[in-house]
Structure formats: C-alpha cells, structure tokens
C-alpha cells in the first residue's frame, strides 16, 4: 500500500509539473502536494520569478527572485487534468505585486531629498505644485492668506480650493471665521525650526506629499508625479529590498526591472522619463549606465 501510494504521488508530481510548465509558463510552481483522502490531493501553487540585474560597477550579475507563496490552492483527483483559472491567478499575482509596489512607493515618499528633487525639477509636476508653493509661501511669510486672494485664485482655477483644503488637512493652515487662511502653530514652529522660508515650505510640501500622495495623484490629477515616483520605486526596490545599495546598471536592465512591476510603457517613453530624472539630478547617468545620485 505504501509503495502504491508513493507511486501515485510521484505520478501526480510528474503530471502536475509538466502541466504547469507546458501550459502555464515558468513562474507558477507546485509547492505542496498532499494526499487528503484516497486518490484526492491538496495542491498548493507558488509564484516565483527569477531575474538578473547586472551591476556595472562591480561587474557582477546578481541573480534574485520574487516569490509569492500559495497563490492558488485546489483539490485534485488522481488522473484528473489540472486546469487553472487564469484570471483568478493573474489577479492574485497582481495583488501581490501591488503590495510590493505600495511598500516601495512609500519608501520613495519617505525620502525627502528624492521627493523634493522630483517636484522641483520635473517641469510638468512643478506647474501643478506651484499652487502649493503659493499657499505655503503666503502662510510662512505673512502668516495669513486672505479670502479675497484665495477667491481670486479660485476664480482662475476652481481646483485651487482643493489645494487650500489639503493644506488645512495637513495641519499647516486653518480657516478663521472670515474664511481667511491662517498659519497654524505647527507651521510656525516648523518655520522657527527651519529659519528659512524656502526650507520651511519645502518641509511642509514634502510632508503633504508623503501623507496625501494618493489624493494628490488621483484627485488633484498630478499623475506626472506618480510616473516619476514609480521609476524611483524600482530603483529603491533594488537598493533596499535586493540590498544592492550602490548598484549601477544599464538602462535596458533597469527597464526590465520596471516592467516587472509596471507595464505598458514603451522603452522610448521610459528613456525620456529617466532623462528627466537625470536632469533633476535624482539619477546619475554615465554612458547609458544609471545609478541613484548620492
């Protein structure tokens, strides 16, 4: 009985592995096969993607993997052909990638020097961010942004009201009974601490972006910010998650890392965006080899 049982298990392993490889590619793997009752098996599948990244500085090819455990569980009878629900599995894989993306995006947003370089030097982003600068400069210098001025900006751009609300939500301004926007103690203390107007505004803006990133991107429609944060998140992934702090890589290699996380960007478009990051001095590029500017 034991021998017979082992044979069944071996046959199942062979059959499932072949089915996975032949029909579902290289990254969906059998992680567990357990006989639950006679001729009925519990099957667990993992996702494991292996990728290479070459560090041009040390001339080293790093082989690393991204693994998601138990992306699918099912029961299978002996000799039953395994058919996987592609949509369901793809959706699980996407969710797992989304979790990583969320983490690495927040790691980018936690780095003040990167965030400030992005918004200051990326021209489209700056056009939108100027509204924040206008409000915060007024509050730091004059401690008040009068209602009539706010109304004037709103008459030119209705969206301006949302920027005011966000400054209030961020705790840097509060509306008085006459609807003038006044600097809060939080902003005043920050100014006292930083001493310079520019430094204070930068710090406040960094905090707003860090704490209200999704709102700024999706409601204020500053999608350009997201574009650049996404690229930076891939670099941070290699530096922090893959523990390659000084990596210097070819642009093509970096593009492939980007495609692992984010899709549907042509290489030329990607190149243009990376070039913008080079102009912003966030990324350094030498002869097609890029690295995080130290």
């Amino acid at each position: 009985m034991t021998i017979e049982s082992d044979n069944r298990m071996e046959n199942m392993l062979l059959e499932i592995n072949r089915t996975l490889l032949h029909n579902y590619g290289n990254n969906i793997l059998l992680s567990k096969l357990k006989e639950k009752s006679l001729n009925e098996f519990d099957v667990e599948l993992d996702y494991n993607k292996i990728f290479h990244i070459k560090d041009e500085r040390t001339n080293t090819l790093f082989v690393r993997n991204i693994k998601f455990n138990r992306i699918f569980e099912s029961k299978l009878k002996l000799n039953e052909k395994m058919e996987l629900p592609l949509d369901e599995i793809n959706s699980t894989i996407c969710s797992e990638y989304d979790l990583i993306k969320n983490n690495i995006i927040h790691k980018v947003l936690a780095r003040k020097e990167i965030v400030l370089s992005l918004i200051k030097n990326t021209h489209i982003s700056m056009a939108f961010m100027n509204k924040f600068y206008t409000i915060l400069n007024q509050l730091v210098i004059n401690e008040v942004f009068h209602k009539n001025m706010i109304d004037e900006y709103i008459s030119k751009n209705k969206n301006f009201e949302k920027y005011v609300s966000l400054v209030v939500d961020g705790g840097f301004g509060e509306l008085d009974s006459k609807k003038n926007l006044r600097a809060t103690n939080k902003l005043k203390v920050l100014f006292k601490d930083k001493k310079e107007v520019k430094e204070t505004v930068d710090e406040a803006l960094f905090i707003l972006i860090r704490d209200h990133y999704d709102y700024i991107v999706y409601d204020l429609n500053i999608h350009t910010l997201k574009t650049y944060v996404n690229i930076m998140s891939c670099l941070i992934y290699l530096i922090d998650y893959m523990k390659l702090p000084n990596i210097k890589m070819r642009l093509g290699d970096f593009y492939r890392v980007y495609l692992t996380f984010y899709r549907k960007v042509e290489f030329d478009k990607f190149l243009e965006r990376v070039n913008n990051l080079v102009y912003s001095n966030v990324i350094t590029s030498e002869g097609g080899v890029i690295s995080l500017t130290s």
Partner: protein
C-alpha cells in the same frame, strides 16, 4: 543503443545573439538549436522574445507559442519543428543527440554545476543560494555529449555559460557541466521533459523545389 558504446560530443557554436537572464534559458536554447541547424539564419533574439512573451508577466497559455515559433521557422524556410517532448530514461534523450538537446531540470541543478560559472569578464552572485535554488522553478540545460555509455553527461548552461563562452570553450570538456546519471535523475525526476527538434523531410523537399523554381524563373528573366 549500440551507439552509446562510443563517446559523443556535439560541436556547439555560440549563437550571435543571447540573453543574459534566467528567464532567457528557453530563448537561448532555441537560438543555440537554430545556430546548429541553420547557421547564418536571420532570426533574432528579439523575435523570439516577442513569440515567448519574454518581458510579460502573469501567466498565459504556453502551448501555442511553440506553434508560432514553428511558423517562424517555416517563414525562414528552415525544415525543422520544435515540440515539447517527454522521456522516461536518459537513453531516450541521448538518441536525439545529433543536435544539442534542451532538457528541463529543477533549479537545484545549479547547485551541482555553479562551480563552472567562473569568468574573468563577470562575477555571478546567487545571493542566498538556499533561498534561490530550493524553489521548484525549471531551468533548461543543453545536453551536448556523453561518455561511459551515457553514465557521464555533458551539458552547456544556456544562460550562465553560453553568453560568456567562446566556440573553443564550448568544445572543451573541462569547461562543460558534467552530471552523472544519478544527479541527472535527481534533477529531472518530477518533470522529465525536453525540447524535441524534428527534421521534416517533406518541408525540406518543398523548400528545395521552391528554390529551384525561383532560380529557374530568375534565369528566364
């Protein structure tokens, strides 16, 4: 199996184009096969990347990709087809050794062969190899020869050797990966699959007739 009494080593030529990535083992294997059966062919790694959705994510139906590859061979008038084949014993795959034979291994085979991946031009760093190799991913190796009636098998790694070796290295037994049959079975036992290359005589005949016809036509013109 009388032929197994003699040792055999295929002369594998390095393809013009290779991919230096783990996921590229399939594509590099096919490029190596192409180099062997149709030297001077015009098929690029980029074309194969497209067919096999190299940069893609998620999962998709894989079977049709070999059909697309075979159609590409047809377009280039190469009278061969490639299929996913299965085997029970190593002797079965050895009989295909007129060409290099891409065989699927569990990834832990790299544990056994990684000492051969030492080069002056590049270092290969596998990080925490236990974490990496204990995953049941599959990895292709190109079977290129055998000795001792098939007890000693020679392979070329399409990702960790092929891009870094010269044609001379590829025929130097000391530089090739070697597995004994015990190691071989340990690493293939739950997959026992390979890429089977078939010569299609009918196609070759058709291509030859077409070529002759074209030559005749151009002479008349």
């Amino acid at each position: 199996m009388s032929s197994l009494t003699e040792d055999k080593l295929i002369k594998l030529n390095k393809p013009k184009d290779t991919i230096e990535d783990f996921q590229g083992c399939g594509i590099n294997s096919l490029l190596a096969l192409l180099e062997h059966i149709a030297p001077g062919h015009k098929i690029s790694a980029d074309e194969l990347k497209k067919i096999f959705d190299y940069d893609g994510e998620g999962i998709s139906e894989q079977k049709h990709r070999f059909n697309r590859f075979n159609n590409l061979l047809k377009d280039h008038k190469i009278p061969y087809k490639v299929y996913r084949g299965t085997f029970n014993s190593h002797q079965e795959v050895l009989k295909y050794l007129k060409f290099p034979v891409p065989i699927y291994f569990s990834m832990n085979v790299i544990h056994l062969i990684k000492d051969k991946f030492k080069y002056s031009q590049i270092n290969i760093n596998f990080g925490d190899s236990n974490l990496l190799f204990n995953n049941p991913n599959h990895h292709l190796l190109l079977l290129v020869g055998y000795e001792e009636a098939g007890k000693k098998l020679y392979f070329v790694d399409p990702v960790y050797q092929l891009p870094y070796y010269s044609n001379k290295d590829l025929t130097n037994k000391n530089k090739l990966c070697v597995l004994d049959t015990k190691q071989f079975y340990e690493c293939v036992k739950h997959i026992k699959s390979f890429m089977e290359l078939r010569f299609i005589k009918k196609l070759e005949k058709g291509y030859k007739t077409e070529k002759k016809k074209n030559e005749k036509q151009s002479k008349l013109e």
